[in-house]
Amino acid sequence: MALENTDIAARKGRVPMVAQRIILISVLLTIWELGSSLTEGEFWVSRPLLIVERLITMIQSGELLRHLTATLVEAGSGLLLAGLVGIPLGIALERFPRVAKLVEPIIMGLYGLPRVALAPLFILWVGIGLASKVLMSFSMVIFVFLMNVSEGVRSIDKDMLDLMSTMRASRSFVTRRVVLPAIVPWILTAIRIGVGLALIGAVVAELIGSNQGLGWFIEKSAGRLDTTGVFTGLIVLMAVAMLANFMIVSAERRLLRWRGNSR
């Protein structure tokens, strides 16, 4: 087995990547803290220490958990639903190229639509509750799944499929053993891009009509000119996105072991 990057770094006496990242973030935070307190910029951009303080009070009061759960449920459901619809649909579109050609302009048209503008419509349709946020997230992510999965199916080696047909493999055998494994990397990429978009969808829908969630909390704080509140909400959103990304990367490592270390 080849050496991991970090092992090589350690051997060369370099600081490992994780440590380098922590140092970078600490430096940025320090600049923010000092810059903000020295220039009276606190009103506009708050300060890391104030944000930490706010985080602690929000954790203690249970407020953070409430908003975080709300947003995670909305974005998570939207992402999951988009995967459940988008993956089979993407495969189906490649299997029936004529249908794909027929509906392509419609799909591209919907994709081009600024879906944020649809939020009021969604609220009108399904009300101000959870459903409108899930729908919003879904509408942001579905296209990512659709396009990635289609591209993934299209990129499958034609000879591999031909070989399967010379062995008279059934369609379900080919789907299970060739198509699905081949698109796993594409699905993981879709999830990776989709997490951010699902969060955007959920937060935007919350801004327009809600009584909880990180988006709503940010909106409410801004209304009170509470920049520390706004930044606290933003930082939590960022942490969620980073954590999700980290989880996907480690899933990738496990699921795509067959690719080897040569990349």
């Binding site: 080696d157 047909s165 062995m167 008279r168 055998f173 053993r177 494994p181 081949a182 040569s262």
Partner: protein, 275 residues
């Protein structure tokens, strides 16, 4: 000396004729590839060829002359523009049963380990196995892949991948084996070893093999008959029956005067201008 063989005439040596005994028969096959905005590209022209049930036929010919294309037509992956392809006397529709193909390019499933790739041949063969694991172990052993059973193709050399592909083909256990330069990526030693193994397997259990290669000596060593193709559009310019008795010895055969004579003839055939 070489012989021009018109479509129907047997030419220098008798081509096995009893149609019922042939597992593959091509009658006057033309194959052209459609090209966008251009004339179709004629790749194979008026090709007639039959392969007996237990016959080992090698095809040699210059690069791009349509050898792979002929194999694709036999396996039903493409339809000839003109002429007929028969497998066991029936015209090919769809993908005929019992025809195994080993492609020139690597077509292993990258997400399946060596054993899993070989197991796919076994699964699709439709013969229920008493002990599939044992069959796979035997193949791994035979192909010298011990210790790599759990490796993924990304961790194998080109030659090892070819051996796994051969393992998958053998596991599929077809009556007709189409092999497109199966040993192309191997060093001469491994090539000799696998050639010998292939002959051993085939001599123990005879079936039809069509073996494409650019190595004339390999063709003559392995085959009952060597078919020589012209440059594109590929036509059969000569066929040579190899009457050297079996079992053949890879090293000894190379000093056999019959062997060297046929090799020289094929060299001449290949240099032959087409018109």
């Amino acid at each position: 000396m070489s012989v021009q063989i018109p479509a129907a005439s047997p030419g220098e040596m008798a081509v096995p004729s009893a149609a019922a005994a042939d597992s593959i028969a091509l009658h006057g096959v033309d194959i052209a590839y459609e090209r966008e905005g251009q004339e179709p590209l004629l790749v194979v022209e008026n090709c007639s060829l039959s392969v007996g049930r237990e016959e080992f036929v090698a095809i040699v010919g210059p690069s791009g002359c349509g050898k792979s294309t002929v194999l694709r037509a036999i396996s039903g992956l493409l339809r000839p523009t003109r002429g007929k392809v028969l497998i066991h006397g029936n015209e090919v529709v769809g993908h005929p049963a019992g025809v195994g193909f080993m492609f020139q390019r690597d077509t292993l499933l990258p997400w399946c380990s060596v054993e899993e790739n070989i197991a796919i041949g076994l699964e699709l063969s439709g013969n229920p196995q008493k002990d599939p694991q044992a069959t796979i172990r035997d193949l791994v052993q035979l192909l010298g892949l011990n210790g790599f059973e759990k490796s993924y193709p990304s961790a194998l050399s080109g030659g090892m991948r070819q051996r796994v592909s051969l393992g998958r083909l053998l596991a599929y256990h077809p009556d007709v084996m189409l092999m497109d330069e199966p040993f192309g990526a191997l060093d001469s030693l491994t090539k000799a070893v696998l050639g010998r193994e292939l002959l051993r397997i085939w001599e123990a259990e005879r079936r039809s093999i069509v073996f494409v290669t650019h190595d004339i000596e390999e063709a003559v060593y392995l085959a009952d008959r060597v078919v020589v193709f012209s440059p594109r559009p590929g036509r059969i310019v000569a066929q040579h029956r190899i009457d050297i008795p079996r079992p053949r010895e890879a090293r000894a055969i190379r000093s056999d005067p019959r062997f060297t004579h046929i090799c020289e003839q094929i060299w001449d055939d290949l240099k032959l201008p087409t018109h």
